[in-house]
């Protein structure tokens, strides 16, 4: 790997979250070849690994690819070095969120986690409604899906709060620190 010229602190944080084995990446591109959403990405998964190791923080965090990973784990199944690129993408999302950066792709994830902390479980109807405010363009697909599911009795609006929400909150607070 080329010597770190960029933000070493960023590189170390990614390694802490995604595992030291990321340093052994040989840039073979197997992860990118395996990726089902590679065709949508501005930077391949291989490049996200490279940016991370070279401390190229802005390039990594500004990449749309960070939000296009579906967590399918095929990269992780195939990586010949035993690296888990999906966890690396998660590390980039985590850093993005902790720095308070915002965009529409991140908004869904943010609402999802807030709901787990608040209720302990996810209400898909509530989540879609909240996301609508963050991304009004999602109205068409949300309405379409809603009209499909409503007559099937699959839209549940009541909040269903578990007893252990304090425990769930502490999982986020304590383990999120690292």
């Amino acid at each position: 790997m080329s010597p770190v010229k960029g933000d070493a602190k960023f590189t170390n944080e990614v390694l802490r979250l995604a595992g030291l084995e990321v340093r052994t990446c040989i840039q073979c591109g197997t992860c990118s070849a395996a990726c089902p959403t590679a065709h949508l990405m501005d930077n391949s998964i291989r490049r996200l690994v490279k940016f991370s190791l070279e401390g190229r923080k802005e390039e990594a965090l500004a990449s749309s690819s960070v939000w296009l990973c579906t967590s399918c784990l095929l990269c992780t199944v195939r990586c010949p070095r035993g690296i888990r690129p999906k966890v690396l993408v998660g590390a980039l999302r985590d850093i993005f969120e902790r720095e308070g950066r915002k965009d529409k792709d991140q908004a869904y994830e943010d609402l999802f986690m807030r709901q787990i902390m608040d209720l302990g479980r996810i209400s898909e109807a509530l989540l879609s409604a909240e996301y609508l405010l963050a991304d009004p363009a999602s109205a068409v697909q949300t309405m379409e899906m809603g009209l499909e599911l409503l007559p099937k009795g699959k839209i549940t609006v009541q909040k269903d709060r578990i007893k252990g929400t304090d425990e769930v909150k502490s999982i986020f607070a304590e383990l999120g620190k690292g």
Binding site: G90, F112, I116, G120, I122, E124, L149, G164, F172
Partner: protein, 281 residues
């Protein structure tokens, strides 16, 4: 057999028929389910910090001493991943420090795996052979990933085995383990719609009469989105998408109500009627 049941969040909304058919099939097969007390969300694919995600799964794992069964591939993958990660001593001590107790050697099972185990010992209960029903198993991603689970994470065949046990005919298609893109559906609807359109077309071209899924997100994408894809592309696709528990339930002679067959978007009833007609002949 007695198992702890982890239904997952979607069992209360978009995956109600998954939950209903899981419970019905387990009753029919003599599998006793005890719902996991105060279960919480596994984090699905939206908790990017792996330690937090492991903690969320571990909180569920410690609620029982029994093996834990779930019908959802996402929950299943997260719970399995947590068990694997907890083998790393550093991860384990961090997670244990936050939780009220520790777990030893938790066993995580997918409903598919449980059903197969029971049917392999005793297939007398299969009263309605799904004769010649061209059934395409759609695996999606997370049933077999991370690796080290019940089947190959690249070329799974476990469902083909089940389909044959039910006397149906497995249909192979190229995209059977290609990601449905469900996790990016909200922010990236068009891209996800293109992917599921390809999957459905591929299965149809291979001659599938019905698709079978093991994940509620795959199911939502392939079933509930199907009519929208038909409108968009101006063509009929019309492939019913059954949960594996619904398919098994039909073969066990359970009724549409018990299996929630009226809750699927693309009605599986014409296919069910065909099965009964073939059996009557």
């Amino acid at each position: 057999m007695r198992l702890a049941y982890y239904p997952g969040c979607v069992s209360r909304s978009t995956g109600k028929e998954m939950d209903r058919s899981t419970r019905a099939v387990c009753v029919a097969l003599g599998i006793e389910l005890e719902e996991l007390p105060d279960w919480s969300c596994c984090g699905a694919t939206h908790v990017p910090n792996e330690l937090v995600s492991t903690g969320l799964a571990a909180r569920n794992i410690i609620q029982t001493e029994l093996p834990i069964m779930t019908p959802c591939s996402i929950c299943y993958s997260n719970l399995r991943n947590a068990v694997q990660r907890m083998e790393v001593p550093e991860v384990r001590s961090k997670v244990d420090a936050v939780l009220t107790k520790s777990h030893e050697r938790a066993r995580i099972r997918h409903v598919l795996d449980v059903i197969l185990e029971v049917l392999q010992k005793d297939d007398d209960r299969l009263v309605v052979p799904l004769k010649d029903l061209k059934t395409a198993p759609y695996y999606g991603c997370l049933l077999t990933r991370p690796k080290g689970g019940i089947d190959s994470p690249e070329f799974p065949t476990i469902m083909e085995g089940l389909v044959k046990t039910l006397k149906a005919e497995p249909v192979d298609f190229g995209l059977k383990a290609f990601c449905c893109a469900g996790p990016i559906f909200m922010p990236q609807e068009e891209a996800a719609a293109d992917i599921i359109y390809s999957i459905l077309k591929d299965a149809k071209k291979a001659g599938a009469e019905v698709l079978v899924t093991v994940c509620p997100l795959c199911h939502l994408m392939l079933d509930a989105k199907q009519k929208s894809l038909e409108r968009r592309h101006g063509e009929q696709i019309g492939i019913p998408v059954l949960y594996v528990t619904q398919l098994v339930g039909i073969a066990l002679g359970l009724g549409p109500e018990e299996l929630g067959l009226n809750m699927n978007s693309v009605s599986p009833m014409p296919v069910v009627e065909k099965v009964y007609e073939r059996v009557a002949k």
